[in-house]
């Protein structure tokens, strides 16, 4: 039996304390230290989160009128669910970060407000300040809906020590170029000869995103596109998809790369110096530098007919507000423009800054190995636009579901490609839930 009684007085004072704390919290939310509160939602945690917090502090310190207050939510579906609901309710934060690949899914539902290009240009942010793929990706239906902070491509990190031992570095100490799948696999075997574990690490088990990132890079390098027209059939080049998957199977032969590896384990393998190359997103770069590995970085080499690198962008968006405050909106533009101009620090976290004046700065050129892969920004490929695609979406995990066994067992990829196409056709045949009338055929 529970014998401790919460007496009435104790209960009341506790309740009063809770109510009081809530009231105080509400007060502090209304007015910042030196200006109006600018609510800013993002999904950046870990090292990225720390860097972002530093940038926000700098911008806040530079402007007296507002105080941007970040709210950090869990990456992926939980974040996008909350952001969508905030936009649907019309009481969203002033500004938020979204993956550029998710923006086409948000626009038709009226969850985002477009950016005013003129106002943005007056802050020094416009077409001239962006690479073509990034600028194009920021538009939906001719309107500018997102302002990119970065591009974060899928790249290769390499262990310079091991690569030097295998003799695969060029005169400048960079990984030697490979131009065909055969050359690349040969490179993998050379590296595996000097590595304790495998030549390369590719963790994919249970991670649809990892499989998709490498697959889509290789698929697009063959000069083909993937289109997902609402109400139509998925346009997938079956042969190119099979070629890409077959190459991935060859990679996972147990020598070049472990046949069965998950993402965490692949990272651990590389971080402990037991493999020479890691396929990963740019965001793992700081981790490896901290591990004390002499790490280089390179875009995935062009193994087929044309360069292509899977990427996504963290982009600023204006979630729809029912009664947007014009003054706060203006401050939002100032906040975003100023943060972009300081994004050199963001590059330290591995990301390629999207804002060209930063890329062209001396400070960035000195950042090694970041500047080695900045050229990738000109060949970025994003998820094919549709309401259900993008980072952290079910699209990528569904892809993983379908092809994981192909990669694990080495079985014929063609049926898996067909099954994936069939799944996509089924989704495309249903009306877009954010746009049931079909007013936007993005």
């Amino acid at each position: 039996m529970l014998t401790t009684h919460v007496n009435r007085r104790r209960f009341l004072s506790a309740a009063a304390a809770i109510v009081g704390a809530g009231a105080l919290g509400a007060c502090s939310a209304a007015q910042g230290a030196d200006g109006r509160i600018l609510q800013f939602w993002h999904l950046l945690s870990g090292g990225d989160g720390v860097t972002m917090a530093g940038l926000i502090d700098q911008v806040n310190a530079a402007h007296a009128g507002f105080d941007a207050k970040p709210t950090v939510l869990a990456w992926g579906a939980p974040y996008y669910t909350k952001l969508a609901m905030a936009g649907a309710g019309g009481r969203a934060p002033e500004v938020a970060i979204m993956h550029a690949s998710r923006v086409p899914g948000y626009v038709p539902g009226g969850l985002l407000d477009p950016w005013d290009k003129e106002l943005l240009a007056s802050h020094g942010v416009g077409e001239e300040q962006y690479s073509q793929p990034v600028w194009d990706k920021s538009h939906v239906g001719g309107e500018l809906y997102s302002v990119a902070l970065d591009a974060h491509p899928f790249i290769m990190l390499y262990n310079k020590e091991l690569c030097a031992e295998a003799g695969v570095l060029d005169a400048d100490g960079r990984l030697k170029a490979t131009g065909t799948p055969e050359e690349f696999l040969a490179l993998g075997r050379e590296l595996s000869a000097v590595s304790e574990g495998h030549g390369m690490s590719f963790g994919y088990l249970g991670s649809g995103s990892q499989m998709w990132r490498l697959f889509y890079t290789l698929y697009c390098q063959q000069g083909v596109a993937m289109e997902l027209p609402q109400g139509g059939e998925a346009q997938i080049d079956e042969d190119a998809a099979v070629t890409a998957l077959e190459f991935m199977q060859q990679l996972l032969d147990g020598e070049v790369a472990a046949a069965q590896n998950d993402e965490d384990n692949a990272i651990a393998e590389f971080a402990t110096g037991r493999s020479a190359i890691l396929f990963t997103g740019v965001w793992e770069l700081p981790t490896m530098q901290k591990e004390g590995i002499d790490v280089g970085a390179a875009a995935i080499p062009t193994l087929y007919s044309q360069p292509a690198v899977y990427a996504d962008s963290h982009s600023f968006v204006l979630p729809r507000q029912m009664n947007a405050d014009p003054e706060l909106r203006k401050m939002t533009y100032t906040f975003v423009a100023d943060l972009l101009s300081r994004s050199t620090e963001w590059a330290a976290a591995g990301h390629i800054p999207a804002y060209l004046p930063v890329i062209e700065s001396d400070a960035y050129a000195k950042l090694e190995p970041q500047s080695d892969y900045s050229d990738a920004a000109n060949h970025l490929v994003y998820d094919p636009p549709a309401w259900f695609t993008g980072s952290g979406s079910n699209f990528q995990s569904d892809f993983g579901q379908t092809v994981q066994s192909v990669l694990m067992t080495g079985s014929d990829p063609r049926p898996a490609v067909r099954a994936f196409k069939k799944q996509l056709d089924a989704i495309l045949a249903k009306p877009n839930p954010t746009d049931p009338e079909g007013e936007w055929s993005a």
Partner: protein, 320 residues
């Protein structure tokens, strides 16, 4: 609303109960009204919460299931039974329902049987009873997020304890959560470890309520320990087993958090529970209307299970 109306309405409701409890003398009209008002005031906080957070969502959800309402606020038009028609033809819906039923079968049997064995062992008078009780019950107090983290590590394909164990006895390691043929089993194992303490406690309490003189009498009659368990303990645990079973089936049907978390948010065809599919359809896929329709299909399935349970129980009672 007039006072008279309130009074008559009140008189049929809680006031009647209050009057009945007060005594044999039926109160006069004014007094009855006063008592009814007091009763309603006391009931109000609960009634408001009940109407607002249970009755209204149930009704509104039912209405939504006939619309194409989207999470983004778009849609909302009446679509008749289209959502239900789609749900019945949706292979993923059936697969998720089957996963939930399979999980319920796989988890309920060990969760009842092992809990009983554990309770019997502890009740034999092992020294340090409190320690056993505590350690068996402790996992139940952990949040689902915590147990998911723990078991993700245990099931890690390369450094996990589960595979260490397999290697130690000379078996091949298994990619527990990544392999589609083992991931549901892995979730069952984690769930059994996590929630068995509750059933264990119910059984232990029931065991300790069996009067000791019955065992003494049996012993005088020459019954051995096993005979005592079989003829005295187990029959008297019957009612408890019914309660444990019903609670366990309902709890297992609600599978979501540990499966979702242990799979890292990935929806695998072999672990996606029906509740996860409801969440995915509504919140990830933005389709509130469709998601509501699946909820009602599931609701109907649970009601069928409930009716079956009730019928079986009644039959058993009738047999006695």
């Amino acid at each position: 609303m007039s006072h008279a109306a309130t009074e008559t309405k009140g008189a049929r409701g809680p006031a009647a109960a209050v009057a009945g409890a007060a005594g044999a003398v039926p109160p006069t009209g004014v007094k009855r009204f006063r008592e009814a008002r007091v009763a309603w005031i006391f009931l109000a906080p609960f009634m408001i919460a009940f109407l607002l957070f249970l009755v209204w969502p149930i009704l509104h959800g039912f209405y939504l299931s006939f619309t194409d309402q989207s999470l983004t606020g778009a849609g909302g038009g009446f679509v008749g039974g289209a959502n239900y028609a789609e749900a019945f033809g949706d292979a993923t819906m059936w697969r998720s329902l089957a996963n939930t039923v399979l999980f319920t079968l796989m988890s309920t049997v060990p969760l009842v049987a092992i809990a009983l064995v554990m309770a019997l062992l502890v009740d034999t008078g092992l020294p340090g009873q409190w320690l056993w009780r505590l350690s068996f019950f402790m996992p139940y107090l952990l949040a689902s997020t915590v147990i998911s983290q723990i078991w993700v590590w245990i099931f890690n394909p390369s450094v996990g304890a589960a595979n260490e164990l397999l290697r130690a006895v000379g078996l091949e390691p298994i990619a527990w959560l990544q392999n589609e043929s083992t991931n549901l089993t892995a979730i069952v194992i984690a769930t059994v470890w996590w929630t068995i303490g509750f059933n264990f406690l119910l059984y232990l309490a029931a065991l300790q309520n069996i009067p000791g003189h019955q065992y003494e009498a049996a012993e005088l009659d020459g019954a051995g320990k096993l005979r005592q368990v079989w003829s005295i303990t187990l029959p008297q645990l019957g009612p408890t087993t019914v309660v444990v079973l019903i609670l366990q089936i309902l709890a297992s049907l609600k599978l979501f958090d540990q499966a979702y978390q242990m799979m890292g948010g990935i929806s695998s065809d072999t672990t996606r529970s029906i509740i996860q599919y409801i969440y995915e359809a509504g919140f990830v896929g933005y389709r509130f209307g469709y998601s509501a329709a699946i909820s009602y299909v599931f609701f109907a399935a649970i009601i069928i299970v409930g009716i079956l349970q009730a019928v079986l129980l009644r039959q058993r009672k009738a047999e006695k």
